[in-house]
């Protein structure tokens, strides 16, 4: 599979060179002319759809307000960022602004020396984004700024909860277990999970870890890429205890999470299961998987319950999001000003309209559905937002963790094997 890399790279390089020669500087550098005119190149992953339009409007509006600044948008396919960004950061011609997911990936880019520390420029307003912006910090410095957020929690069917006699969502794991029993008694599958995709399994284990581990431990463990703290073993044991209640659908190990009516999202959408632990995007995934037009209004949301005796925060949230970084080729103040504009209420309202996630700025929350507003409120009140472990860790470690958790779901391995998988993957880097 590596086989075509070099010829392909050569072809891409040749094509890129020709394109550059033909089109001038479509690639990177922010150009500043003598009369103070600045052009910022902006790599976004919005190649189609409403978000592309939102960004185009934002670029035009920003230029109108700042006539000396021109934003040149370069839409790039989402999957291409993983290869294009490292290459661009290794060159002298990186884009001025580019798509940034934060976490371990951002941390691995910082040593290139091309990312701008935005802290001095955004300190005046970044606070209004809440704890979310921490996901784009490296060693306390803001190297990126989010424009939308994702939060993982439970999406549940209010009608099925009512049928099982559950009057309010569970606040603790024992309450969740009691609800599982009630739902089973009412012949309703309590929880759907798409284990075929592995990452939905990881949400479960990671949330138990968040409830068991103090925030400081989470932070240091992510940084050290080490899960040897005993709280992570406790998380595995909590998961085992919970899974002993057999809360998931039959054959969950072979169920996809988002594709088809038989997926975990499809099961909740079609009333075949009462709830699932998923991201804020889930209602959007469910809608096309059912003929039930009122599905969105039938859904409720509640956060992952607290674990009695757990040393972790009961309100910390698991999530992630999308953002942007500025590079050193762009005037830092101008670039930061543009990111501030992206996070302003008018632009954020349009981002919500594009249905890509929750707005980074809560001022735009009026455009959300009531359930989404609840997610956002909860997320903004959270003392800490833990980035998905597989994003927070280097890619190979994250994937090894997901695989180990998926094995654990399948009854393979032990609490220790999850921890060992991480240390082993780290040693193989």
């Amino acid at each position: 599979m590596r086989s075509l890399r070099k010829p392909a790279v050569a072809a891409v390089v040749a094509a890129a060179a020709l394109t550059l020669a033909a089109c001038g500087s479509s690639g990177g550098t922010a150009s500043t002319s003598n009369n103070g005119q600045v052009t910022l190149t902006w790599w976004t992953n919005a190649t189609t759809g409403q978000l592309k339009t939102v960004w185009q409007q934002a670029a035009v509006a920003f230029h109108k307000a700042h006539p000396k600044v021109t934003i040149q948008i370069v839409p790039i396919q989402n999957e291409a960022f993983t290869t294009k960004v490292p290459a661009a950061l290794a060159s002298n011609n990186p884009p001025s602004i580019y798509q940034q997911w934060g976490g371990g990936q951002e941390a691995s880019q910082v040593p290139s020396g091309k990312l701008t520390n935005l802290s001095p420029y955004v300190s005046g307003w970044i606070g209004q984004l809440g704890a979310a912006s921490q996901g784009w910090q490296v060693s306390g410095k803001q190297y990126g700024v989010p424009y939308d957020l994702h939060t993982v929690g439970f999406w549940y069917r209010k009608d099925l909860f009512a049928r099982a006699g559950i009057s309010k969502p569970p606040a603790t794991v024992p309450e969740l277990e009691a609800d599982v029993t009630k739902l089973k008694a009412a012949h309703i599958v309590p929880i759907a999970v798409g284990s075929k995709d592995k990452w939905p399994d990881a949400f479960w284990w990671e949330y138990f870890a968040i409830r068991e581990c103090p925030t400081a431990t989470l932070k240091s463990s992510m940084k050290a890429v080490n899960l040897s703290n005993s709280c992570f073993t406790k998380a595995s044991k909590d998961l085992t205890t919970f899974m002993n209640t057999h809360p998931f659908q039959a054959g969950f190990l072979g169920t996809a999470s988002q594709v088809g009516a038989g997926s975990s999202a499809g099961m909740v959408a079609n009333g075949k299961a009462a709830m699932e632990l998923q991201g804020d995007w889930d209602p959007g995934v469910m809608a096309p998987l059912t003929s039930n037009k009122s599905i969105t209004s039938q859904l409720g949301w509640f956060p992952f319950p607290s674990v009695p005796g757990g040393a972790g925060s009961a309100t910390t949230v698991l999530g992630g999001g999308d953002g942007f970084s500025c590079t050193t080729v762009a005037p830092a103040a101008t670039c930061a000003e543009f990111l501030k504009y992206i996070d302003s209420a008018p632009v954020q309202t349009k981002v919500v309209g594009a249905n890509v996630g929750l707005p980074a700025n809560p001022a735009a929350s009026a455009a959300l559905t009531p359930a989404q507003q609840q997610v956002l409120t909860y997320s903004h009140a959270a003392p800490y937002i833990q980035t998905y472990f597989d994003i927070a860790f280097p890619t190979n470690v994250g994937q090894a963790l997901d695989a180990a958790i998926a094995n654990y779901f399948a009854g393979q391995g032990s609490a220790q094997s999850i921890i060992t998988a991480v240390s082993q993957a780290k040693s193989q880097q």
Binding site: G254, G262, G411, Q428
Partner: protein, 327 residues
């Protein structure tokens, strides 16, 4: 040119001894022509083969010696470290084991099934053409289509389960894709369904090459149909069976599409193959150096098998068919 040169000489009246130049042409002509032909006919193919087969193999072997995430320049040189890690990894060994199970199943199930069906459909029976088409049809389906179709059929409570229930066999319903001990055999059923038509087609083609007189003579000598099949038809089908075995074994070692779409190699690697392992580690985990090592090991296994098979099994079939240099 060489031909024109020869003609020039031949039309000279009387016995003429060719001059030095003509002799050179006469001697060098066919050689040049041969070289030109070889260059023209083999050149493009060799170029493509070198560029798209040999070079990538060499590059993959080279990349496999680095700890490389796929971004930027190759990372640190690790020698054979990646290769050793792959061979030591129980997950890779498990995946290889699954490949061997698929190889065994294809030989033990597809061969008798394909051969039996070919013998049956070689007779003049009613609906023969329709049956042949029906059996061969799955092979023509794109692998991805087959995978999605079976994925839907095998859902818990899906079509297969419903059919079993209607047949009064509800006790046989299973979690076909979620049961760790069953999933690899489910995959074998799907692969057999897709590929046994190909075995049948090859065998049918082979049967056409068996002279009818032999079977008639055997019948006149009083041989039963079973005996004639066992002693005449099957031995004469040998070359076809051996070629099919080769294709089937190499294909089984490289199985990817159906497994990837239906199970992704899971649950818990219970249906993984070498190819799904390669994609998981190389692409999903962004371990391109390691992935390259997996690719090279997979290639090595297939290559060694192919060489041995060629040397010990196929040699007698291809011996008469190979073009040899003459003179």
């Amino acid at each position: 040119m060489a031909v024109a040169g020869d003609t020039d000489i031949d039309i000279q009246p009387g016995p003429v001894t060719p001059g030095p130049a003509a002799r050179r042409r006469r001697l060098g002509g066919p050689g040049l022509r041969r070289k030109a032909e070889l260059t023209l006919l083999l050149g493009p193919a060799l170029l493509l083969f070198a560029g798209f087969a040999l070079l990538p193999i060499v590059l993959a072997a080279y990349d496999g010696m680095y700890k490389w995430t796929g971004f930027g320049p190759l990372g640190s040189f690790a020698g054979l470290y990646n290769y050793r890690l792959v061979l030591d990894d129980p997950v890779f060994r498990q995946a290889f084991g699954h490949n061997l199970i698929i190889v065994a199943a294809s030989i033990l199930i597809q061969l008798p099934l394909g051969l039996g069906m070919a013998l049956l459909l070689n007779r003049r029976i009613w609906g023969r053409t329709a049956l042949r088409t029906l059996v061969f049809a799955p092979f023509v389906l794109p692998y991805a289509t087959t995978a999605v179709m079976w994925l839907l059929l095998l859902q818990p409570g899906g079509f297969v389960d419903q059919v079993l229930k209607l047949a009064g066999l509800s006790g046989l319903t299973q979690l076909w894709l979620a049961n760790l001990h069953l999933v690899i055999y489910t995959m074998i059923v799907v692969l057999t369904w897709q590929f046994f038509g190909f075995a049948m087609l090859l065998m049918l083609a082979g049967l056409q090459g068996i002279p009818a007189e032999l079977l008639e003579a055997a019948a006149l000598d009083g041989a039963s149909a079973w005996r004639a099949t066992w002693r005449i038809t099957i031995p004469l089908l040998g070359p076809t069976i051996r070629i099919w075995l080769f294709l089937s074994i190499v294909g089984s070692l490289q199985v990817f599409d159906q497994v990837w779409i239906m199970t992704g190699g899971g649950p818990a690697n219970a249906s993984s193959t070498m190819a799904t392992y390669l994609v998981q580690r190389g692409f999903q985990s962004s371990e391109f150096g390691y992935g390259s090592a997996v690719a090279v090991i997979m290639f090595g296994i297939c290559f060694i098998f192919a060489l041995l098979y060629q040397r010990f099994v196929l040699r007698r079939d291809t011996a008469g068919a190979l073009t040899r240099a003459v003179g």
